[in-house]
Amino acid sequence: MKKYLVSTAAAAALALGLSAASASAQEVDPNAKPGGDIVITYKDDVATLDPAIGYDWQNWSMIKSLFDGLMDYKPGTTELVPDLAESYEISPDGKTFTFKLRPGVKFHNGREMTAEDVKYSIDRVVNPVTQSPGQGFFASIKGYEEAAAGKADGLSGITVVDPSTIRFELTRPDATFLHVMAINFSHVVPKEEVEKYGADFGKHPVGTGAFKLGEWTLGQRVVFEKNPDYWHKGLPYLDKITFEIGQEPIVALLRLQKGEIDVPGDGIPPAKFQEVMNDPAQKARVVEGGQLHTGYVTLNVNVPPFDNVKVRQAVNMAINKERIVQLINNRAVPANQPLPPSMPGYAKDYKGYPYDPAKAKELLAEAGQADGFTTDLYVMNTDPNPRIAQGIQQDLAAIGIKANIQALAQANVIAAGGEKEGAPMIWSGGMAWIADFPDPSNFYGPILGCGGAVPGGWNWSWYCNEDLDKKAAEADSIVDPAKAEERNKMWSDIYVKIMEDAPWAPVFNEQRFTMKSPRMGGADNLYVDPVHIPINYDHVYVNDVQ
């Protein structure tokens, strides 16, 4: 029987159909000097450091430094590599995944991590008592329904074969399963510590990660200290990271300019962006990179006249995306499809709808709307979103569509989008989809698939194409890492097909700009790491270590 047996480095390369010649997963940077400490600032409190609970971009990356999962990504890339797993094996039907654990990995409390801990951690996330937002990621594992409803003690599909081997049985072949094993929700926690702290585990995190929690003064600072027993020898480079909390982005920038901090975690405030970029000295310390983000206008297919595909296409051709990107100081690139360019499966050759108001007007006329119509454009009420909405409003006015802007608080926009005929158009800014993991399927299910077109869902265009749903399921059943390229192609086709129906007008993909102090070292892609925002704490270092 043929099995896909893969180990460490080659695995990821295969999984994404890349060259198998890539180097060892987490090599040590020869230029890095160990030691030193850095200061990162944030405006908001760190909510929780419990990997089962934490789900905002701020604690996401912090949790990754305290905990590890079976899988991870090569630093600075979207390339999957085994992490706590040493190797894994996928059955030919794509329904059984067996992981061999790395030996000698210790939790911060000194105990060795075993397969039991992996099982416990995932059972815990699925258990409704935990109230984990990540429960649904494990839906393809056998026994999920019972466990998620609280009717079973754990997932029957997870078997501890021996202390260093764990097997997952799925109800369907799931090509995204390795990504699921890399997200924070599947990171491994020690049972005894979770039981000791109960609901407060998020304030007393204990994992296997590169750093351990040193100090947490509520509302003021969180300090990470180097884990001297980290299984990956040579990492991390830094001895200490101090996260200072409660600092407005503008204040953080001033402090960076005075050399008091190393990275402003919330980025460069929009009002100061031009000033920073016009100063060569400061600009040199800004790293720009892509983001797994798309900003789009949803067109509700239940609300006339958006039920007519020609009207939706007309909207796509009416919006001058270049100009909208200028409105936000060129902090984005124009988009023509749902997937962002840095996502595998992005259709490079697809041209999208051109900016062509004349053609848009023709389409409107063909749809019987030659005189235009009046509608509502919902938008979140924080800058720059109302400004962007005004730009869209002007573009639409040029072809005769009078869009009234409804600027509301985030939660209210989300609520309107989740109603069947709640919002004719929504500008997604501030609520836009950012991928949970770098896989093309991640932009489909909840936001463009039939499953999301339900009351309270995130598919705000209420687009539901059962044919595409089937194709999506088909693509996700291609588990063989060797066929990854074929699978990505299928996803490209799905998104191009979606664009023919135009339930969205994709507008732009936001770029990330991370500013750092002159003493910070490490490759640029660590500062715009697609899965670590703002930076990859485990791999950066400082140049002024004595």
Binding site: A199, G219, Q247, P446
Partner: protein
């Protein structure tokens, strides 16, 4: 006196319960669904419903409020939806910072306001008086967000006299206290001026002057104490006004108090924190007013507590 106190305390408790009911109702009526905030965007509808049940948010309003009140009477403010820690813990950790800022602000407003008022009263009608009163007007009307950033820019960034935001030492305290205090100082300057003018026209001041005392002695020994007392009694009432300013100023200066806590909670619909901070501030305001009323008759014997 004891009957009065008892009545006032009962009243205060009723006010607090009323505030809790109104705040709870307003937050309940909010179209924002806190469960969506907790569950995040990837959660399946089943997960959302499961979390809603776990938190008891599927219950009718009265059951939810009744449960909250019952826990509150036992001193339990609940757990934050987002941070998942005890609200009381979060508030207790941040309360000292807010109290410190409040004391700093009161010292600032009294120091600046009373001095300005005193000088204006003594120089009544002069150009000094006019400019001081214009300054006090600006102080009252300037948005604290702007004042804060301005002070930060001038004294911390350009002149480097003070740290750029943060918490810990006395020098961290100066700029935020000043920012909150400037508004109050405007009010106190105006009150102090009229109170002082009032006193200066009293008969006993004329008598003192007739006795041949020098101007300074009259001002400091005879006029000032009488002019200041009714104003100092106002400080208790001030707490309410200060609370409003503190939310903004704590955010600008990165001051780790309860104002910053509630500001973040509002943005994330973290209802237990919003409720908790509202109740704690309401308690402070009610207490401040009660103290102001109790102190009043000691300062001015014409006031009687009934």
């Amino acid at each position: 006196m004891i009957a009065y106190l008892a009545r006032r305390i009962v009243q205060s408790i009723l006010i607090l319960i009323g505030i809790s009911a109104i705040t709870f109702a307003l937050l309940y009526l909010l179209p924002a669904d806190p469960v969506r905030q907790i569950a995040g965007r990837s959660a399946t509808p089943a997960t959302v419903e499961s979390i809603r049940r776990q938190l008891g948010l599927d219950q009718p309003f009265l059951v939810q409020y009744g449960r909250y009140l019952w826990n509150l009477l036992q001193g339990d403010l609940g757990r934050s939806y987002i941070q998942r820690s005890e609200v009381s813990q979060l508030i207790v950790a941040r309360l000292p910072a807010t109290l410190l800022l409040m004391i700093g602000a009161i010292v600032c407003e009294l120091l600046i306001g009373l001095t300005m008022g005193l000088v204006a009263a003594v120089r009544r009608g002069s150009r000094t008086d006019d400019s001081l009163m214009v300054a006090s007007f600006i102080g009252v009307s300037a948005p604290q967000f702007v004042v804060g950033l301005l002070l930060l820019y001038v004294f911390a960034v350009r002149l480097s006299w003070f740290p750029i935001g943060g918490y810990g030492t006395f020098s961290h305290l100066v700029l935020p206290s000043l920012t909150v205090g400037i508004m109050g100082a405007g009010w106190y300057a105006r009150m102090m001026r009229s109170s002082m003018i009032d006193v200066l026209y009293q008969d006993y001041i004329r008598t003192a002057r007739a006795k041949g005392l020098d101007r300074l002695t009259i001002l400091v020994r005879h006029a000032l104490p009488n002019a200041i007392l009714p104003i100092v009694a106002m400080v208790g009432i001030d707490i309410g006004i200060l609370m409003g300013g503190i939310v903004v100023v704590e955010s600008v200066f990165g001051w780790p108090g309860i104002g910053q806590l509630v500001w973040q909670a509002i943005q994330r619909v973290d209802i237990p924190i919003i409720m908790g901070v509202t109740l704690v501030s309401a308690f402070a305001i009610v207490l401040g007013n009660l103290l102001a009323d109790i102190v009043a008759p000691f300062i001015d014997p014409r006031i009687k507590l009934r």
